[in-house]
Amino acid sequence: MSAITPTTPVPGLFEIQAHNWKLAILVGLIVSVLSMFALPPEAAFWITGAMAAMVAAAFVVNAYRRHYYGGLLVAPAIAVLFVMNIFPLLWSLGLSFFAYQSNQQTIRFVGLTNYTKVLTDSLKAPENWANLTNTAMFVVLTVTAQMIVGFLLALMFAKQFPLRKYLLILVLTPMMLSVVAAGVFFSYYYDPTFGLLSYFIRLFTGEQFILMDNKAGAVAGIVFADAWMWSPFVMLLVLAGLVSVPKYLYEAAAIDRVSGWRRFWSITFPYIRGLLMLALLFRTIEAFKMADLVILLTKGGNGTMTISYHLIRIANEQNKTSEGAAISYVMLFIVIVLTNLYLYIANRRTEGA
């Protein structure tokens, strides 16, 4: 079906042809790199963009001439992702080797200095490490809470009962709330003077309750809000797994007199294992990025500063662009390691099963 009909001969590398994409890449790379070094960033940006467009055009012409429809179908997606994801990624990689602040006009090549500063500087490194540990703590706490709550909710909805549809949507609603509203209203509920939490605790202790005045309380407040918001997501994935177990397997289990734990582990669990791992991966990555709830609930105070929030501050508020880029890449490295670890475990599981 996908046979590349060899109607058009493959052009030699230096043959000037509209579909010679190899040549287009080569020219594009050389011109872009040269312009980045020689021209101001504004001009370099447009030149690089034009080169990317040229390469893309060469690909499209090539695909069209060879009746390669797969390539044509994929091209728009690749183009958008290239402009909005891959290109910025490469740019920030480049930036991390320069000394650049977005509010100043100077730019200077400094090699690995940004990285050494971020990782070893006596003033900055401890702060970064502390933020990273905080992030790790949030990842562990929120993801654990979400997995447990989401799983239990899914078990509750795995049966068919009257009004199920309407109750399910109630539980899904927190996920649809905007983070801003969730954060703001949790700060309303947590407020020491007029918040609900403080009110109920005062009923027992007679004293106003300030949740956010120490690290444990602040962390608990953030974790609770985040877990509340995103447990429904885990629930949805687990529920999808639970309802996909064919009914006849449970019938066979009834005939074979298999019940309780054994039935769960040998029949149900294999169906949700993949989805549980997926939920774990998604939620870990999201938790790693956590910034908005922290901004809204504690502004990073009381030892709740996360690496993402720190990065936003550095890059956006303090204009330390290249230092931010270096932190980004350290984060990226960590996420890639985590993702690969996950994929390794997931693959080993499926092969071993």
């Binding site: 909710l153 983070v179 999808a240």
Partner: protein, 314 residues
């Protein structure tokens, strides 16, 4: 079984396969849990009908009526629609500066940006997914993995260059910029999900249509697309929920004219504490919740099917 079931079935409580039957007892149990879970949202909705003094009162007033004297008056507030009318009209003072709340504008921005970018991602992503599914090429898995990875990366990693890029190109604060960004943001997920749907389809019908002389495009639109409607719906809901509420990119990349509701809300609460107009904010969020709530509700069945597809394959 018998009559009762058929009535429930007529009301839309369809029996899902592979799901065991439980009765009203389960409904009661799940109802209590669900209501507790929903409580924070319910409180937001209740607050949206309160005036500022009632929103801040101690003890909290949470009942709109005294239920013929059953509830002590201390817990009862008099519901008002004032917050809802002022969402669109009233001048709000934030930090001493009077500004028209102008939430009509922000609502328009949110609806426009979210719907255009999700639909755009759906169109581009579905085409790409079809390409990946039907025209496999060497190293296909690698490309797919790279595409997926872009989604797995923390958005924060690309945000600095994107800010710079937007400043340089003048896309900062424009609809085009944020829509393109959100489209890219939704693409990996769309491609991944739709590909798994296309992979599940039987190729026989398509081959038959091709032998009958239908063009590739016709096969795609007439044969494949109708079969993956559930997938499209599920992908749409997920994309919509994520895009609708996206905050970080919107905060950093939208201008005054293109500001979305979450960003505007975050600015309205900048003062914090007593300075925040809780009732007004609750009304905004309630209004903001309604569209996604109903879209999700009506596409709920597809949502569950959509998640299962591709991930549970045997």
């Amino acid at each position: 079984m018998s009559k009762a079931t058929s009535i429930w079935e007529k009301l839309g409580f369809r029996k899902a396969s592979g799901v065991s039957e439980a009765g009203w007892g389960q409904t009661l149990f799940a109802g209590i849990i669900s209501l507790i879970y929903f409580l924070p949202v319910l409180l937001i909705i209740i607050t949206s009908f309160k005036l500022q003094t009632e929103a801040l009162s101690i003890p909290p007033k949470f009942m709109p009526t005294n239920l013929f004297g059953l509830i002590p008056d201390a817990y009862v507030f008099s519901p008002t629609l004032e917050n809802y009318t002022s969402v669109f009209s009233r001048a709000m003072t934030s930090g001493g500066v009077a500004e028209n709340t102008g939430f009509d504008r922000y609502f328009f921005n949110s609806i426009m940006i979210a719907s255009v970018s999700v639909l755009l991602a759906l169109v581009i992503g579905t085409l790409a997914a079809f390409g990946f599914s039907r025209y496999p090429l060497k190293g296909n898995d690698t490309y797919l993995f790279v595409i997926l990875t872009t989604r797995m990366l923390p958005a924060i990693v690309v945000i600095i260059p994107i800010i710079l890029m937007f400043r340089v190109t003048g896309l900062s604060g424009s609809y085009l910029g944020i829509i393109m960004l959100y489209t890219a943001f939704n693409l990996p997920f769309t491609i991944w999900m739709m590909k798994s749907f296309f992979d599940e389809l039987s190729l026989d019908v398509e081959d038959a249509a091709r032998l009958d002389g239908s063009s590739g495009l016709k096969v795609f639109f007439k044969i494949c697309l109708p079969q993956v409607l559930a997938g499209l719906a599920a992908t749409f809901v997920f994309g919509l929920i994520l895009t609708w509420n996206e905050f970080l990119f919107a905060l950093l990349l939208t201008g005054i004219d293109t500001r979305t509701v979450p960003v505007a809300m975050s600015q309205a609460v900048a003062g914090g504490g007593i300075g925040v107009l809780w009732g007004l904010l609750a009304a905004i969020e309630t209004l903001f919740l309604i569209p996604v709530f109903f879209v999700t509700f009506f596409l709920q069945d597809h949502l569950l099917r959509g998640v299962t597809f591709g991930t549970v394959k045997r």
